[in-house]
Symmetry: C3
């Protein structure tokens, strides 16, 4: 089941990259690449930082096929994708929740401090979008106005708090991912952003 959600998250991330690239008037190859790095960027940086190489997407060809398929789909049906916007947002948000906890658990496995594990989970969930924006020559959107990483961090703290109790591992996993998802949905629904401290 986790694998299915993981694939759904990958699809959503890939499509979000493809849409940005189309807006930037990139060619077919640029669109594919931006879709690809948006989907795998976070996990790739995570694997490089902890030294788990070859990085994950290189060891499971499924991701590549899923991303290629999503990119082709998004390019063909780009006019209709607005109708899918809610579904895409949901996939994307589920992907973020899942990626956060996957990253945390990889950090624990590598023997890292809980705070570092939470950072690693946040990187896994958010860095794909950061690379997407850098390659598109924009200041990364998550630095500007979205509660995104904050959701990951709160979910990560939840993970370590809940883990102190004798609970089932799957439950801890799902609860923490759920917190990330919930915060993200509420933030978007009620247009909550982190304050900027800049004043004119």
């Amino acid at each position: 089941m986790f694998y299915t959600i993981d694939i759904l998250g990958t699809i959503a991330f890939a499509i979000s990259g493809v849409l940005v690239a189309i807006n930037k008037k990139m060619d077919l190859f640029g669109i594919l690449i931006i879709g690809f790095v948006t989907a795998v960027g976070g996990g790739t940086l995570r694997d490089i930082l902890i030294g788990q190489t070859p990085v994950s997407w290189m060891q499971d060809i499924t991701y590549t096929y899923v991303i290629l398929g999503s990119a082709i789909f998004a390019m063909l049906f780009r006019s209709y994708i607005n109708y899918l916007r809610t579904s895409l947002f949901l996939f994307d948000t589920i992907g973020i929740g899942l990626y956060t906890v996957v990253g945390i658990e990889k950090g624990i496995h590598a023997g890292l401090h809980p705070v570092i594990c939470i950072a690693l989970g946040t990187i896994t969930a958010s860095f794909g979008g950061v690379i997407r924006d850098i390659l598109s020559n924009e200041i990364p959107v998550i630095f500007r106005k979205e509660i995104y990483a904050t959701a990951c961090i709160v979910g990560g703290i939840t993970y370590f708090l809940v883990r102190m109790f004798p609970l089932d591992d799957n439950f801890v996993f799902l609860l923490s991912a759920g917190i990330v998802i919930l915060i993200r949905i509420l933030a978007v629904k009620f247009k909550i952003g982190l304050p900027t401290i800049y004043k004119d």
Copy 2:
């Protein structure tokens, strides 16, 4: 012989970086760095992704000297470099062909899936130019209008198709690199680009 071509490719990549940096009014150090990352960026990312560290250019000082020499040459003779443009394009293109196949073979050696190997070859050949453009605050040129990665991908597919026959390894290597080079030359000669799908 491969080593010689490799060095010629390195020179061409370094000079292409230097010329971009000069246009961006960077200082001497900036010019050197952009020349350097353009030349070694692709191989460096490849080595990091598959976990072959310290990365290649750190283990063979020749590359560093060649790049420094090329950068100094390009700075001194920048007014005359237009006359060399055809030679440079040829070096660059040969470098791309070679780097693609080198990347593929490193992927095979790491036990990766053919599709991933082709991706790795393409990264090796094209990522130096991507970093050059990011550091110069531009949307990477290969995402916008050049048939570049496409040539690498077709060459990579050729490699795996031809390899199914009982042929000499060197022949497979040269044929695949040759396909990359041929596509790139034809694309530039006939001004072929990938379509963008953006419409106003």
Copy 3:
């Protein structure tokens, strides 16, 4: 003592990142991240290039706490930070000197050529600022007008020259770091920059 200076350098780097992010109107999370990558970016790239993973900041939680503290401090007292500008510059410069030599010694430990070690030291000292500028969508400042990397390179050459004599390791370390610091201070004091070779 080295550890104390290292921490002071980390603080200065973090604060420099925070100030840039505030000017770019980023939100709280963006400010924290830019502060973080400015402080740890150079060491992270160094560790990845030589394959020493998990990267350093993941193995010593102190850096994370120091950076978080510095970021909060800089955000709270940003109006007064102008009064601290000289102290900050000094920390930053000491940090650069120290980071350069730390990077060189890691390169020696990994069995690399002296020239590569100097490159590694320069990367350690300067790459945090490069990432800071890329994430803020600017051409990295060190490519444009500051004698910064040059100071690292001269300090690195000093290190290998002095090391040929039978001197105490700590003395070699401090002398080389001192050269980096001295050049940087003189360059800023007398507004010395590297020439650009661009002409209209």
